[in-house]
């Protein structure tokens, strides 16, 4: 004795946002019913567990049928199967493409390949995001990646246009795509303290300043690939550390400016050459793909960690980097001001963002 078939179809598709969330989070129907019961919907409308189960099943089915359309959100607007209000469509899409920070942190910078997909159960166990939800999020990343990979024009805009996402979510996806494309290493232990938003911010900086698109607006992959010419030019910055005079000159300029302004002055002075070597070396090595991948780990190892061990405050950091950057302009034998600014602009803001516990 059982209900063998049970469907409810509205002319305007009925969707409960709470159930949608549960579905997206990968709850099974039964678990979702439990959650809803605890949430107290039943009292709201004198419903019984059966009613709740039936409703949840219906909604799950509806979402499953919609999922195909959500994969190319533009279709949702002109498909005929479901009559959904534009506002509701926007909500559906936005929620579908939303992701868990814990999950994205795990796959950020990894190749969006089958191999990674196989590791999703580990990630699921680690992040306590359900495997189903992990898969959806991973597939979303991959889908966005594939679509924008070959498009011209600004990355964020492309993502927003094609997936009808909000500006914020569009930027986050741009970061994910950018990281995946350049395979930045983010998983090392030393990087664990960084949040997705830290990386997303850095990605935004890199995209806006270091990619081809920063120079030319209509090139393929313009926002995904770093500007090769620029990377080449970065090698020239080595003079800052290889030329002994220049290095000393730079140090004295910075120290003069900093003296008396910070408690950490002694450490700064002592460490100047090391720190400067670290930053310039990172710049000089960026022509190697391998070193691009290690960009963030290098930043942390070569710069952030030494500073942290010397107990610099964030204000110290700001002060130091500002003067460090500006002083280079005064060096009369240093000819690469433009490249220096382009490089240090990004480095500065990245380090500001990354310098926390």
């Amino acid at each position: 004795m059982a209900v063998e078939l049970d469907v409810f179809v509205g002319n305007t598709t009925i969707m409960d946002e709470e159930v949608y969330k549960l579905w997206l989070d990968g709850y099974t129907v039964n678990d979702a019913v439990k959650v809803r019961m605890e949430g107290g919907v039943m009292e709201e409308c004198e419903a019984s567990a059966d009613v709740l189960l039936s409703d949840t099943m219906d909604q799950y089915r509806t979402f499953q049928m919609c999922e195909r359309l959500l994969h190319s959100p533009a279709k949702l607007a002109n498909q005929l199967l479901f009559q959904i209000t534009p506002h509701r469509q926007a909500v559906l899409i936005e929620r579908y493409y939303a992701f868990d920070d814990a999950f994205v942190r795990e796959v950020l910078g990894k190749k969006l390949s089958k191999g990674t997909k196989k590791d999703l159960d580990d990630i699921s166990a680690k992040t306590s995001v359900t495997l189903k939800s992990c898969r959806r999020q991973f597939d979303n990343f991959k889908r966005v990646f594939k679509v924008v990979e070959e498009l011209k024009g600004p990355l964020v805009e492309n993502i927003r246009q094609h997936f009808l996402l909000s500006d914020k979510l569009g930027r986050d996806y741009a970061a994910i795509v950018f990281f995946a494309n350049n395979r930045f290493e983010t998983g090392k232990r030393k990087l664990q303290y960084l949040t997705f938003q830290d990386f997303a911010f850095c990605a935004g900086q890199l995209i806006n300043n270091w990619t081809v698109g920063a120079v030319d607006h209509m090139v393929e992959d313009m926002d995904v690939d770093l500007d090769k010419e620029f990377l080449q030019e970065l090698k020239e910055l080595k003079i800052l550390i290889t030329d002994k005079d220049l290095l000393d000159q730079h140090k004295s300029l910075v120290c003069t400016a900093l003296r008396g302004k910070t408690k950490a002055f002694n450490e700064m002075e002592a460490n100047f050459k090391n720190l400067s070597r670290g930053l310039v070396n990172i710049a000089a090595k960026l022509t190697n793909t391998k070193d691009v991948r290690d960009f963030f780990i290098d930043l942390v190892e070569k710069f952030i960690e030494p500073c942290r061990s010397d107990r610099w405050t964030a204000a110290d950091m700001r002060l130091y980097l500002t003067h460090y950057t500006n002083s280079a302009h005064i060096l009369d034998t240093f000819k690469h001001q433009v490249v220096w600014d382009r490089y240090m602009g990004v480095i500065k803001s990245c380090i500001f963002k990354m310098y926390h516990d």
């Binding site: 004795m1 063998e4 179809v9 009925i14 419903a47 479901f82």
Partner: protein, 1094 residues
């Protein structure tokens, strides 16, 4: 009579990938009409092809235009093998044939495949050029408008209501032809879809012809149904009400009600008070002429007095109204020069009408109306529900012409009736005669809210018809309805419209059955019954106390499996008992809610192999004009068995429930201040006889049984079943079953707060609708365990199934509170041995709670005059009567010799109930054998799923973000005849669509629920697309008339047939001053959409 049909294929989008290698499709389109086919070029390697074809022109007869759909097939070109079909679109071009409807069909249509469902969309443009005015041609009936709506459509005015039209067409079911064994399921499904489309077209054309003959120009309340009789064939039948409609100019009359209102009051007054009218001369003339026509109701009032016969007043009335500016209804009489009075009525039409009068009178053979709500003043009195059922054995529809030919030649069954006395036509004829005679017995000359339905299981078929016997105001009709004997003295006093319809139509002194009458609690002038059952909607002018609510009676009865005649006899023997029990349930539930009238009553009895299901739905109301119902009294039959405590507990529960319901439905009629002596006396007597509480006679006490022989249905012998003191108690607890029954009475939970529900158009007592509308369809199938189930157990399961469905609706729609579920339309079926299927279509509408005004009871109401009689007429009849008897001796079939012993022989029973125009038809055909035959059919991977994602990887940015303004027109759907907050400015034509969906990968599609869910969603989508293509933005009077679902999970297969209908309309918000629809022609938005899509 030729016309030119032109079609242009513009573009496609979202096509499925047909070529795995390239992930693309080389699509082209075949456009077929009749036997002519055109093709577009192949548009290579695209999922969004732009054909932009030339105009394909078909030169065809308008007869074909009416019958045939335009068939658009999308195919994938394949150089080396056969081209693969992607899917089809059938476009019904009927709306283009009517000048007032749509002028062009243009828009995106879902490409539908019976195996894969919707596979992309295609943009098509269709136009028709008709060369001449068509009304003169015999075979076609272009120009006759069809409406599913069962009231006068909102932007029209009924100049005349001609009456009943019916037609049926039969054919072999392609699914049962020999060729089906070798063709693919797809081919078979498509053959069926196409055949039914053809048959509906033909049926509509034929009905149109009849309407033209009668002088009408429209069919209102058009109800078309299919009987899938399996091996014996396929019947498509339709009934409707022929009318002459005049379009209201939108400027002058924003809505019909206000338009007609001014003249209703004088009209109805005039009706009821002839003497005041002072138009004697006219009247005499009318009298003469109207007595002439040979109508079935010739007999003049035998009983009483009434020198000015009832009809006479109405004549002056029609005159009066016509000379005023409304010109409603002018009925030219034969041989009578009433020309002077005609006013604005168009001359030519009138002449036409006059010419046709003779035919029209013949049509009056059945004074039936499929309408359920009427222009004010139309309905004079309501007698009660009449219904008839009969059980038939299906046999092959013998037809030499059908023989072995494989062509879909359509045959009009009428044309072969001469050879074949055993026809479906004859069956219906018989039933209708019976209905007519029942109506007559109730002193009524017409039946309104009339509907017909069937239930088929194997070779047994139950035909049912029901309606509400009533007396109509003849000014809307031609003569013929006037000369009826009724208690005329009532006409001498004006009865206010708010209660007039409640007054008894039959003669008090010569009542068709013993009944307890009281003086109307509203006007106190005329007699009213204590309870009123009807199949119609609550008249808008009726005065109601409190709110209404949905009342359902549910019943399951086990039956032995049997074959042929034995089976038919068994079923027909069970029917009267089921009807009786359903009725008892309804009465008890009505009383439990402290209400006194049922509207929209619809009783469905479905037959399965081992059980019968009965479901009666209605909307209960407290009519101010009727006496207050008494309570329910419990009594133990044998005091020894059950303690008095027990009884009093139950009694208390019942009383509590009644009190609670009164509060819930806001039924607070003022206490009575004066009792009619008659009533008072009656109460006293009963009080004396009974113990305590309000006296209620036992239902049986009130049921009068009519036994009518269908051969001569005029003679109705009356059988008073029971008088006696033992019947004075309503509910006797004499065994555990009775206890169960009482418990089940109390089981029905009231809707949660904020919700109301009804099965009529709108909820009595609510009139402040806001614009929130959510139409939905829900289907549940319940599998019974094979354990030995008792009737009681089954009842419980069935009741729970229905109750749980309602609870689910309330829960799902909770965000709409305060809201009312309107037009809840349940259909039940027994698709297989252990399955019960319930399908519901309804609409949830929001309303403004604060402004809800309850109509206060205008007059004090008597309380406690609980004596009730029902004007229910319980006529039992030998079921397998005449038609079966033709082939077999009757005694064999029924197993009982004809006698007056009612209980032994009862096939068709009527008493108060059954209606609901829209979804009467749920026939379940068991096609198991067929499904099995399909076993080896190729499996289809779910291509749907893999539909192309990044097909048009456009390298350019899309110019617009598309979710701001969707390109898809929003199409609202509702089973009601209106959308709250809007005004219908144009009817674009009838939507009548039939779809089959089949799968051989049931699991992959999400099991039975997933399969049906997507199918229903697809059907909605296709309806919306067709409406949008006609330029419409809403469907009113939508109904799902058929939902036949069959599954074979072991084979991973399922099949479903759905038939839906409705009226495509353009509506604008009420606040919008002018009639420009906000949405422009969808073609424009569509074509611009095409650009962005590529």
């Amino acid at each position: 009579m030729p016309g030119k049909l032109k079609a242009k294929i513009v573009a496609g989008r979202h096509l499925p990938v047909m070529d795995r290698a390239s992930d693309l499709t080389d699509a082209f389109v075949e456009v077929k009409f009749g036997n002519t086919t055109f093709k577009t070029d192949v548009f290579p390697k695209s999922l969004n092809p732009q054909w932009n074809s030339e105009w394909f022109k078909f030169e065809v007869d308008d007869e074909d235009l009416q019958d045939e759909p335009l068939q658009v097939t999308v195919l994938d070109h394949d150089t080396y093998s056969a081209n693969d079909a992607i899917g089809k679109v059938y476009i019904d071009i009927d709306p283009l044939l009517c000048t007032e409807a749509a002028s062009v069909i243009s828009g995106w249509f879902p490409i539908y495949d019976t195996i894969h469902g919707i596979r992309g969309e295609i943009n098509v443009l269709v136009k028709v050029e008709l060369f001449n005015d068509l009304n003169r041609f015999r075979q076609s009936s272009c120009g006759v408008k069809f409406f599913c709506t069962t009231s006068i459509p909102r932007c029209y005015r009924a100049a005349m209501v001609h009456g009943f039209v019916e037609e049926l067409v039969v054919n072999e079911d392609p699914e049962y032809q020999w060729i089906d064994r070798i063709r693919t399921p797809r081919a078979s499904n498509e053959a069926r879809q196409r055949l039914i489309s053809l048959m509906s077209g033909e049926l509509q054309r034929k009905i149109g012809l009849k309407v033209l003959e009668m002088g009408g120009n429209a069919v209102v309340g058009y109800l078309q149904c299919f009987d899938l009789e399996g091996e014996s064939g396929l019947v498509v039948r339709a009934i409707g009400t022929a009318c002459t409609l005049d379009k209201l100019s939108s400027g002058s009359a924003p809505n019909t009600n206000t338009h007609t209102h001014p003249n209703t009051a004088p009209a109805s007054n005039a009706c009821n008070s002839p003497s005041k009218d002072g138009k004697e001369p006219v009247f005499g003339e009318d009298l003469l002429s109207s007595s002439g026509p040979p109508t079935p109701f010739r007999a003049l009032p035998t009983s009483s007095s009434s020198p000015p016969p009832p009809f006479s007043p109405s004549k002056p009335c029609s005159r009066q109204s016509s000379s005023s500016d409304t010109d409603l209804s002018l009925t030219p009489k034969t041989g009578m020069g009433s020309g002077g009075s005609v006013g604005k009525e168009a001359g030519p039409l009138k002449t036409l009408l006059r010419q046709q009068t003779q035919t029209a009178l013949e049509q009056r053979e059945f004074p039936f109306f499929t309408l359920t709500s009427f222009p004010p003043g139309f309905l004079v009195h309501v007698g009660g529900v009449v219904s008839a059922r009969s059980v038939k054995l299906l046999d092959r529809i013998h037809n030499p012409a059908l023989g072995n030919t494989r062509s879909y030649k359509l045959l009009d069954w009428n044309s072969v009736t001469a050879d074949e006395p055993e026809t479906r036509d004859a069956w219906w004829e018989e039933i209708r005669q019976e209905i007519k005679s029942h109506a007559k017995a109730l002193g009524c000359h017409a039946v309104v809210g009339y509907s017909e339905s069937t239930s088929i299981c194997e070779e047994v078929c139950i035909l049912s018809a029901s309606g509400t016997a009533s007396i109509l105001n003849p000014r809307f009709m031609r003569e013929g309805c006037l000369d009826i004997g009724i208690a005329d003295h009532r006409f001498e006093e004006p009865s206010p419209p708010s209660c007039g319809f409640c007054h008894i139509p039959y003669d008090e002194l010569n009542m068709p059955f013993p009944a307890q009458l009281t003086y109307c609690y509203h006007c106190r002038r005329q007699k009213v019954p204590d309870v009123l059952f009807t199949t119609i909607d609550l008249p808008s002018e009726a005065s109601v106390t409190g709110k209404g609510c949905l009342i359902q009676a549910r019943l399951c009865r086990l039956k032995k499996k049997a074959q042929g005649e034995v089976n038919a006899t068994a079923i027909s023997n069970m029917l009267p008992f089921m009807e009786y029990e359903l009725h008892t349930q309804l009465m008890n539930k009505l009383k439990l809610r402290s209400m006194n009238a049922l509207f929209g009553l619809h009783i469905q009895i479905s037959v399965g192999e081992n059980m019968l299901l009965g479901l009666a739905s209605a909307t209960g109301v407290y009519l101010t004009a009727l006496p207050a119902p008494g309570g329910i009294q419990i009594a133990g039959k044998t005091p020894g068995d059950l303690s008095n405590d027990h009884i009093s507990t139950i009694q208390k529960r019942i009383n509590d429930t009644i009190a609670k319901n009164k509060e819930l439905y806001q039924i607070n009629p003022p206490k009575l201040f004066a009792l009619d002596p008659e009533v008072f006396c009656g109460i006293n007597m009963e009080l004396n006889e009974e113990l305590v509480g309000s006296p209620i006679p036992e239902p049986r006490h009130r049921s009068r049984l009519f036994r009518s022989h269908s051969e001569s249905s005029d003679e109705v012998s009356e059988l008073d079943l029971s008088h006696g003191k033992k019947d004075a108690f309503v509910l006797e607890i004499d065994d555990t079953d009775a206890v169960e029954d009482i418990h089940s009475l109390l089981i029905d939970a009231p809707p949660p707060s904020g919700f109301y529900s009804c099965n009529t158009e709108v909820m009595p007592g609510i009139n402040t609708w806001t614009s929130g509308v959510q139409m939905f369809t829900s289907v549940r199938v319940f599998r019974l365990s094979n354990a030995n189930l008792t009737n009681q157990g089954l009842n419980k399961i069935f009741t729970d199934l229905c109750e749980n469905l309602l609870k689910s609706f309330y829960f799902k729609l909770r965000s709409m509170i305060p809201c009312c579920l309107c037009h809840l339309n349940f259909t039940v079926a027994v698709p297989e041995d252990e399955l019960i299927q319930v399908a519901v279509t309804a609409v949830a509408m929001t309303f403004d709670k604060d402004q809800t005004q309850e109509k206060p009871a205008e007059k004090p109401i008597t309380k406690g005059s609980g004596d009730t009689e029902e004007q229910l007429q319980f006529s039992m009849e030998l079921c397998a009567d005449s038609s079966l008897a033709n082939s077999q001796p009757p005694s064999k079939i029924s197993g009982v010799p004809e006698s007056s012993n009612i209980s032994s022989r009862a096939a068709s029973v009527d008493y108060g109930s059954f209606a609901d125009r829209c979804s009467t038809w749920l026939e379940l055909l068991r096609l198991k054998a067929h499904t099995i035959r399909r076993g080896s059919v190729k499996t289809i991977s779910s291509l749907e799923r893999s539909s192309p994602l990044p097909d048009g990887r456009s390298r350019s940015l899309r110019s617009t973000r598309s979710f701001g303004g969707t390109s898809v027109t929003v199409v609202k759907m509702t089973p009601l005849s209106f959308l709250p907050g809007t005004r219908i400015i144009k009817y674009l034509g009838i939507i009548n669509m039939f779809f089959i969906r089949e799968t051989t990968s049931l699991r992959e599609e999400g099991g039975v629920s997933g399969f049906l869910h997507s199918f229903i969603a697809e059907v909605f989508a296709m309806v919306r697309a067709h409406v949008a293509a006609l330029g419409g933005n809403a469907v009113v009077s939508y109904s799902m008339k058929e939902c036949v679902f069959m599954e074979n999970p072991n084979k991973n297969q399922a099949q479903c047939l759905i038939n839906v209908s409705g009226d495509a309309v353009i509506c604008v918000r009420e606040s919008d001053p002018e009639a420009t629809p906000s949405m422009t022609n969808s073609a424009q938005s569509c074509s611009s959409e095409t650009d962005t899509a590529t």
